[in-house]
């Protein structure tokens, strides 16, 4: 049991945390502490209620001083949560913070095992591994990097706009990159916003023009990020600026060119009107589009298709802003932090054929209805169906593409509320009978439940039951020519057939098509559903696992406008806090080549993903640039003669962990 005589006099302090009942309820913390006390090198072994609390940390510091401890092991939660906390505590106690190792007996043990005996055994094994590991720990200095104060915001919906403005108002330079020709996102398409029913455009457009006019914001619409290099504080981003075939500086948005286009009528489905109207090849998405610049759709424009257009648009433009030869541009920018606010897409109703979208012309998606009731929409706010009639009976189907394991299993959070809003607006516009078919009514927001009350009092029908089918097969004369909605009225316990003139599908929110590509590019993770994954669901909701990259809005999960704005503000604040600190401490887990041991075989050179390893031609040996090394350790594993080492993850440390886990004490290895 003794051994290690050849080592320096190691005095380990071991602490096992109860974490209230979280750990102590599922394993015997006392016996873990007692067991560890018997291990070589352990001078102090204690259990304590909450190690991360101030008294817990002070306990460690006091022990370091009084018991001359020179290694600390804490068995508590995941190192991803509290490793930093304890390192600081160790440092305050007067030890190098890297003389510390954390044992995860909560997420990896107490929360996942029910057999108390087995859990205790496992905790002991993990503790022994850590105790043996710290023998080979070395004092290290953390790496510091400077933070470039400029910020990149990706996505110009309400979240991106709000984050960009917050940062710009704080005096930071912001690049706002938006994929589509205008900022505004989904919110710009909405008519009214729940529960206050204030007009979306009225509250959004002022913010859009602030973005355009802010001296600290560089707005690049119709642009996409194509490459991200670098690391926290020093990101290098490549942006592709797609050609609009309009000189952005010259165009004033007078729209004369659109007027004069050889197409008298639009032929292309208008994206902004959810395809309910047609636009011309030269167009501006909507009157308040920002920037207020037109663009030409290459796919639709005769000049691009045949080269034989009269180019009446060019004639019409007295500022000579039209430029058919415009090329795609590639811009490089540098930013210290990045906020991703790339938004969501609505569920594709084609995937649920039983609701007849695309088959029956009077089945609409909620987004289409937003445009239909909008005064600036294709019908100037008049609710006229595709068959030219005004509906007298309307059915709104909730949870389309939500809460369904065959499509999307999550609740999209906004549909209940916007369905209520649409029910109100449709009733207001048409005086029709409106039926809501819902599974559960979810109104958990400020003044939301009150809005539901209002709708109930407006005598909107609420049928609790998921719709099985929308069909035109009539079984009664009164059903002829109608769309029949079949659902069980679960409150009453009877199946109902409700014939309506218009069906509204309350489509859910899902990750954008390119969410996976975006997250790869920015090196962040996605949750199973495909939304961007936050660092911690409660405590770090806008952080990601990559330092300096934050997420805001519906790209993180379904969210309504108030939540998106709140999150955008939070993301901006996180970025600001980093920028104002000026620098960030990085894990010193970099690799280094022991010069006298390197044979210069070049194996590592081919492997490093960051080109951090170069060859010193004079010495004929490899050399690792610490600033470029990110600490993956791939070269260490590959070095055939064991000449590369990784701080915090040296071979010896891992071997001693393996030994410890397999119930071998350090004397028994090798």
């Amino acid at each position: 049991m003794h051994g290690n005589g050849h080592k320096e006099d190691i005095r380990i302090g071991f602490y096992v945390c109860h974490c209230g009942h979280n750990i102590a309820g599922s394993l015997d913390v006392k016996s873990v502490a007692e067991y560890v006390k018997t291990l070589p090198g352990v001078a102090v072994s204690r259990d304590y209620k909450y190690m991360c609390s101030d008294p817990g940390q002070e306990l460690v510091q006091k022990d370091i001083r009084q018991n001359k401890l020179n290694r600390i092991v804490v068995a508590s939660c995941s190192p991803l949560l509290h490793e930093h906390t304890f390192r600081i505590a160790v440092e305050k106690g007067g030890l190098n913070p890297f003389y510390f190792q954390m044992v995860n007996i909560r997420e990896n043990v107490s929360w996942v095992h029910t057999d108390k005996k087995a859990a205790t055994e496992k905790a002991k094994d993990l503790a022994r591994a850590a105790v043996q590991r710290v023998f080979s720990h070395k004092p290290l200095e953390p790496k510091h990097v400077k933070i470039n104060p400029d910020v990149l915001v990706v996505g110009g919906g309400i979240s991106g706009i709000h984050a960009a403005l917050t940062l710009a108002n704080a005096g930071k330079k912001v690049y706002l990159v938006e994929k589509s020709p205008t900022i505004g996102g989904h919110m710009a398409m909405f008519d009214k916003t729940f529960p206050t029913l204030d007009c979306a455009a009225c509250i959004l457009t002022p913010k859009m023009s602030q973005v355009k006019n802010h001296s600290n914001i560089t707005l690049w619409s119709y642009s996409e990020v194509t490459k991200v290099d670098g690391y926290v504080g020093n990101y290098k981003i490549t942006v592709k600026r797609k050609p609009r075939y309009i000189n952005e500086e010259l165009c004033v948005g007078c729209m004369d060119c659109i007027e004069k286009c050889v197409y008298k009528e639009g032929k292309t489905p208008d994206e902004f009107n959810a395809g309910l109207s047609k636009r011309k090849p030269i167009y501006i998405p909507f009157p308040q589009a920002t920037p207020q610049v037109v663009l030409i759709d290459r796919e639709a424009c005769i000049e691009f298709k045949s080269g034989h257009c009269k180019k009446t648009c060019v004639e019409a433009c007295d500022r000579n802003a039209i430029d058919f030869k415009q090329q795609e541009e590639t811009k490089e920018i540098e930013a210290g932090t990045i906020i991703l606010a790339t938004g969501f897409k609505t569920f594709d109703a084609d995937k649920v054929p039983y609701y007849g979208y695309g088959k029956y012309q009077n089945v609409y998606t909620s987004l289409e209805v937003e445009r239909l009731v909008n005064a600036s929409g294709p019908t100037s706010g008049e609710v006229i169906l595709r068959n030219g009639k005004t509906p007298k009976m309307i059915g709104i189907i909730h949870c389309v593409g939500s809460r369904d394991k065959r499509t999307n299993r999550w609740c999209s959070r906004t549909c209940c509320m916007y369905s209520l809003k649409l029910a109100h607006l449709l009733k207001e516009h048409t005086d029709a009978e409106v039926y809501n078919f819902y599974i559960d009514m979810r109104t958990p927001g400020k003044a939301y439940e009150e809005f539901y009350d209002k709708l109930l009092e407006e005598n909107v029908h609420f049928i609790r039951g998921r719709v099985a089918e929308v069909t035109d097969c009539a079984v009664r004369p009164e059903e002829e020519g109608k769309l029949i909605i079949r659902a069980e009225d679960t409150m009453i316990g009877i199946v109902r057939r409700v014939p309506v003139d218009m069906v509204v599908l309350a489509v859910g929110m899902e990750p954008k098509e390119d969410a996976q590509d975006v997250r790869r590019m920015f090196n962040i993770s996605c949750s199973t559903e495909g939304f961007f994954l936050e660092r911690h669901p409660k405590l770090a909701p806008v952080d990601t696992f990559t330092d300096g990259i934050y997420i805001a809005g519906a790209c993180q999960g379904p969210k309504d406008i108030p939540d998106s704005v709140a999150q955008a503000g939070a993301a901006a604040a996180q970025a600001l806090s980093l920028i104002d600190r000026g620098e960030i401490e990085l894990e010193p887990n970099t690799a280094f080549v022991v010069q006298e041991e390197c044979s210069g075989c070049r194996t590592c050179l081919t492997i490093c993903p960051y080109n951090a390893i170069s060859r010193d031609e004079e010495k004929q040996k490899a050399f690792i640039n610490e600033a470029l090394c990110k600490g993956c350790g791939t070269c260490v594993a590959a070095c055939p003669s064991g000449a590369i080492k990784q701080n915090l993850f040296e071979d010896e440390m891992i071997y001693s962990e393996i030994n410890g886990l397999l119930k071998l004490t350090s004397t028994e290895c090798c």
């Binding site: 054929p353 039983y354 069909t471 035109d472 097969c473 079984v475």
Partner: protein, 299 residues
């Protein structure tokens, strides 16, 4: 092309026309069907209602027999009746995916000196015709294209649900493709997988008849001249109760209900007798095609 063939009980009684026409069509298309020796009832839906393991074991015996009869690495077994198709398919699934059920079935088989290795692939004749034989090859052999004949394809429940493997569960199109391949015109209607009530016509007739009435009316309304189906029980229900439905509901219902194989046979130049039209209550009027057919035949 060679397949093992599991006709099932219905095809030996109410569904004889299905059996005979399928065999005739297969012969014409040079698809060899070899009947499983001494096959037994698949268990259908009734058996599962009483004893699950017995039901699976019944079906599994057929699978085991099929394996005995073929040395192919993958034994393709055609089960034309929807209930048989599902019962066999489901047994295959459970054998593969539910270990405790699988153990019980295997021990039952063992008691009978049988063993099942999982080599059988249960196939629906539509699947085989469309995916193995190929629509193009069918088209090539058409002698009497049934041009302009409007057909409602009715799939019923169990050929597709819940384990549809060869077509979409909601909007199946394979039978329509066959209809197109033989030159006829499939009509679009939305009830092609709606239930016909199964044995309810015999047990709770009001319920059964109402379901069938709905189907028949909708098919007629959609302009179909003929309904074709791939299930003996569906065919029986849709065809044999028309008179009663007309009487009950006091409305005219009159539409021939054929097995899809019967219609195919006609298009392939087989005679009405060969595809067992004489077994139907209501023969379709295909006279306008017969001239051409006869000519081709004589040739």
């Amino acid at each position: 092309m060679k397949y093992l063939y599991y006709p099932g009980c219905s095809l030996r009684s109410t569904g004889r026309a299905y059996d005979e026409s399928l065999l005739a069509v297969s012969k014409k298309l040079e698809i060899q069907l070899e009947e499983i020796n001494d096959w037994n009832c698949c268990g259908a839906t009734s058996y599962v209602s009483i004893d699950e393991i017995d039901a699976f074991s019944l079906a599994a015996r057929n699978l085991a027999l099929a394996e005995l009869q073929s040395s192919d690495e993958e034994v393709n077994l055609i089960a034309p009746c929807s209930a048989c198709y599902l019962a066999l398919l489901k047994t295959e699934r459970f054998l593969e995916e539910v270990p405790d059920v699988s153990a019980k079935i295997n021990s039952s088989l063992y008691k009978a000196g049988l063993h099942y290795n999982g080599r059988v692939n249960v196939r629906h004749p539509i699947d085989v015709l469309v995916n193995d034989y190929g629509l193009e090859n069918i088209s090539k052999r058409i002698e009497t294209p049934l041009k302009g004949l409007k057909i409602a394809c009715y799939y019923g429940c169990q050929s597709l649900r819940p384990y549809a493997t060869f077509d979409d569960q909601y909007h199946p199109m394979t039978m329509e493709k066959i209809v197109e391949a033989i030159g006829a015109e499939p009509i679009d209607w939305s009830l092609k997988t709606r239930c016909c009530g199964g044995s309810l016509t015999g047990t709770i007739q009001e319920a059964g008849l109402r379901l069938n009435r709905f189907l028949l009316k909708e098919a007629q309304k959609s302009g179909a001249e003929i309904i074709i189906t791939c299930c003996p029980l569906c065919q029986h229900n849709l065809e044999c109760y028309q008179e009663r439905i007309s009487r009950f509901y006091d409305e005219e219902i009159n539409i021939p209900v054929l097995y899809f194989t019967q219609l195919m046979g006609i298009a392939l130049g087989l005679s009405e007798k060969e595809v067992s039209m004489h077994r139907l209550f209501k023969k379709p009027s295909l006279k306008r095609f017969s001239q051409k057919g006869a000519a081709a035949h004589a040739w």
